[in-house]
Amino acid sequence: MLPVVPRELDDVDGSAATLSTEDLLQRVATGDREAFAQLYDRTAPRVFGLVKRLLWDHSQSEEVTQEVFLEIWQTATRYDTSKGGAIAWMLTMTHRRAVDRVRASQASRNRDTRIGIRDFPTDFDSVAESVEVRIESERVKEAMMRLTELQRQAVELAYFGGYSHSEVAAMLSVPIGTVKTRLRDGMIRLRDELGVAS
C-alpha cells in the first residue's frame, strides 16, 4: 500500500483570473470545458476581429470563428509552451483558417464582387483602400511606415487581405518572384522594427 501524498492539490484548481492564457490552454488540453469557456471569453474578440478583417462577411466570420475554436479545443492537447505563446498559437491558426475560407471559391467570388476587384490590376487602388486597414497599434503602424511602399502593400494585401502571392502579383503588376522577395524583406524589416526575436 502506498503512502498517500499530501493533498496540496487545491491550487491546481486556482482561480482563473490569475491564470495565464498558456495555463488556460493547458487545462483545456485535459478536457476542461470550464477552462475552455474562460479561454473563449478572453480571446474570442481577438479571433473574431481578425477573422472579420479578412472575411468582411459577418455570418462567415462567425462560422470561421467557430471552426477556429473547435480546432483549439481538439488540438490544445498538442500545444506546449515551446511553441510560443498561446495567443500566438491561436492567432496563427485563426489567420490560416480565415485565409482558407477566403480561398474557398464561393467566398472569394463573393468577396471580390463586393470589393469590386474583378479586374485586379486596373482596380488596385480601390483594393488598396479597402485593405488599408485601420491599424490600431501605434507600434505596428509606425513599423509599417518603415517598409518601402511596395513591401507594405504586399504585406498588407497578403496578411489583411488574405490574398495569395499570385493574386498580390496580379494586383501589383509584378512577377510572383518579386512579391515573394517583398513579402520576405518586408516581414524581416517589420521583425526588426518590432524587435521580435525568439
Binding site: 467557430q66 492537447t77 496563427t92 521580435v196
Partner: protein, 263 residues
C-alpha cells in the same frame, strides 16, 4: 540581399508565414523547414511578427449566440490524443540531454515540427507518423498501431462516465488522469514532467485496499505526453506514479510523485 541558405525555396519564408503560398509550395517549404535550422529560426521570428499584425487588429465582440453554439459543440467533440511530435522528428538519443542546444533553436525546432493541424485527417496521419517515430509509451502500446492508441484515449473521452482529475507531480509538472469506469480504462497525460536519468523509469499503479498493481511504465521528456494504463481499472482505484528502476518493479519501491483518487 537575401542570406545564403534561403536561395530558392528560402525566399518563400515571408509568404509562408502570411499563408500566401499555394498548397504545393507550402508542402515544399515545409520540407525545407525540416532540413534547415536557419530557415526554421527565421520562420519562427517571422511568424511571431505576423502575430503582431494580428494583434494590431481591433478586437470585435462576437455575438453571445456564437459562444453558446461553440460551447455546445465542444461538449460533444472529442479531443485529439496528446502527442509529442518533437520526439518523432528527432528520435531520442541517450546523450540528447547533454547536447547543448540554443534555446531559440530548440524552440524553433519543436514549433515547426508540430504545427497545428488543419484537419482531423491530417492530425490522424500525424498520429501514425509520430507513434511510428518512437514516442515513449508503455508496454501495452509498444507494437500497437498508433491510431489505436489515439482512439483509445478518444473513446475514454467520449464515454458517458468520462472523468478527469489533475494533480501536481511533486517533482514538477502535472498529471491528469482521464478514465471511464464502465470501460475500465484510464490514461494519464503528463505535462512538464522531468526526464529521468538513465536506468530509471516512471511506473503507474492501480492502488486499492489490497495494495498496488503495476499498470505500465513510461518515460517523460518535459513536454506533454499521454500513456494508456495497462490492465483493468476498478471503480474507486487510486492511480499512483512512482520512480522505479528501468523496466519497472512488481511493487512500488519509492514514494509516489503523484497520486490521483478516482473515488
Amino acid at each position: 540581399m537575401n542570406s545564403k541558405p534561403s536561395k530558392d525555396l528560402g525566399i518563400n519564408s515571408g509568404a509562408y508565414v502570411l499563408h500566401a503560398l499555394s498548397d504545393s509550395e507550402n508542402a515544399q517549404f515545409e520540407s525545407l523547414l525540416a532540413e534547415s535550422e536557419e530557415t526554421r529560426a527565421e520562420v519562427t521570428e517571422l511568424a511571431d511578427t505576423a502575430v503582431e499584425l494580428g494583434l494590431s487588429v481591433a478586437p470585435v465582440d462576437p455575438p453571445a449566440s456564437l459562444r453558446a453554439r461553440i460551447l455546445d459543440k465542444v461538449a460533444t467533440t472529442p479531443q485529439l490524443a496528446p502527442l509529442t511530435p518533437a520526439d518523432a522528428a528527432a528520435p531520442r538519443e541517450q546523450h540528447e540531454i547533454e547536447r547543448p542546444v540554443g534555446l531559440a533553436e530548440e524552440r524553433a525546432r519543436r514549433r515547426w515540427y508540430s504545427r497545428p493541424m488543419t484537419t482531423l485527417a491530417a492530425a490522424a496521419a500525424a498520429v501514425a507518423l509520430v507513434f511510428g517515430g518512437g514516442v515513449a509509451v508503455n508496454a501495452v502500446i509498444e507494437g500497437q498501431h498508433a491510431s489505436e492508441t489515439a482512439s483509445q484515449i478518444t473513446r475514454i473521452q467520449a464515454a458517458a462516465d468520462y472523468q478527469r482529475s489533475t494533480v501536481p507531480v511533486s517533482t514538477g509538472g502535472t498529471a491528469t488522469l482521464i478514465w471511464s469506469e464502465t470501460m475500465k480504462r484510464a490514461a494519464i497525460i503528463v505535462q512538464g514532467v522531468d526526464r529521468l536519468p538513465g536506468g530509471k523509469t516512471y511506473e503507474l499503479w492501480y492502488i486499492d485496499a489490497e495494495g498496488a498493481t503495476p499498470a505500465g511504465t513510461f518515460d517523460a521528456n518535459g513536454s506533454m505526453q499521454s500513456v494508456m494504463l495497462t490492465g483493468d481499472m476498478k471503480a474507486g482505484d487510486t492511480v499512483g506514479v512512482t520512480v522505479e528502476p528501468a523496466g519497472g518493479s512488481k511493487t512500488p519501491t519509492t514514494k509516489p510523485v503523484a497520486v490521483v483518487a478516482t473515488a
